[in-house]
Amino acid sequence: MIKQELYQGIKEAFPIVLGYLPLGFAFGVMARDAGLSAFQSISMSALCLTGAGQFIAIGMSKSGGSLLAIILTNILVNLRYALFAASTVPHLQGRLSPAAATALSYGLTDEVYAVSMNRYRSHEATTAYLAGLVFTAHLAWIGSTFFGALLGHFIGNTEQLGMNFALPAMYISLLVILVQRKSELYVALAAALIAILVGHFIPGAMSTNFNIVAATLIGATMGVLFRE
């Protein structure tokens, strides 16, 4: 049973792995380019596990941004994780021990969140499933950074392989699967529109993901109102 759940988690991480490979690779290349050693690049992926946050940190440090500015921007970028984490709690409660739920939440990325929420629609949460999902995704992120940091200069662009569309394609697939009720469809459409408008009209919103946070807050609130 535990083995099965673990295997299920690893299996469901496969699309995430596919999406992380080109991204982690690109991060490894860029981190080296910004002056990090290979060990530092890999450490950053191991410890931070935040795609957008890491790219922003590297970009800002390369253009002379201060440590404080980098940290503050990262607080903004990572704010959405608090929403994700809170919304997984009702599924984890009573199924995982508080310690296991808390510990495994370290690995909550956009992709891990979406895949696991999709799983919880039809199955109970288990520690083994979540561990399999989180560790596999994290390993892919670290491993691809490793390859990017060490071999980046030998391999050409991955764009011609279509790999740059892996993450958008995953968002699309999860969206199509997760959205089942009419209210959810309206929430997703509204959030899409808000994210684009806020990102386009508020300077810096797109690069800090502030538009994603704004769209989530407003979209979820609309969902509650819709159902009343």
Binding site: P15, Q40, L47, C48, G53, Q54, A57, L67, I70, I71, N74, I75, N78, L79, A82, L83, F84, A85, A86, S87, V89, L92, Q93, P98, T102, Y106, G107, Y113, A114, N118, E159, Q160, L161, G162, M163, F165, P168, M170, Y171, I172, S173, L174, L175, V176, L178, E184, V187, A188, L189, A191, A192, A195, H200, M206, A215, T216, G219, A220, G223, V224
Partner: protein, 108 residues
Amino acid sequence: MSDLQIWLMIFGVAVVSMAPRILPVALFSRREMPPLLKRWLSFVAPAVLGALTAVSILAPAGRLDLSAGNLYLWAFFPTVAVGVKSKSIFLTLFAGIISMALIYHLAG
């Protein structure tokens, strides 16, 4: 940046990226959430995915791009079609990557 500054950056980013994921779970794991909050949170996933999808397709390089030269826009349609039809993450991902590779070469 000096070596020390790089390490400070890594640890600083690690703290502010881990805290928002871990704290809510640690805080709420032992107590019941108010029902209204639970309901609000149930809409977080569709909202986030709607927002992420829109931004990744319409602003793939960080700025709004509604031109015909935005290849992501072209790859979007076959990918959605396969997604709706198959309801499979793997097939949709596969269709998306293949579409993008084809479009990249057709446009290039």
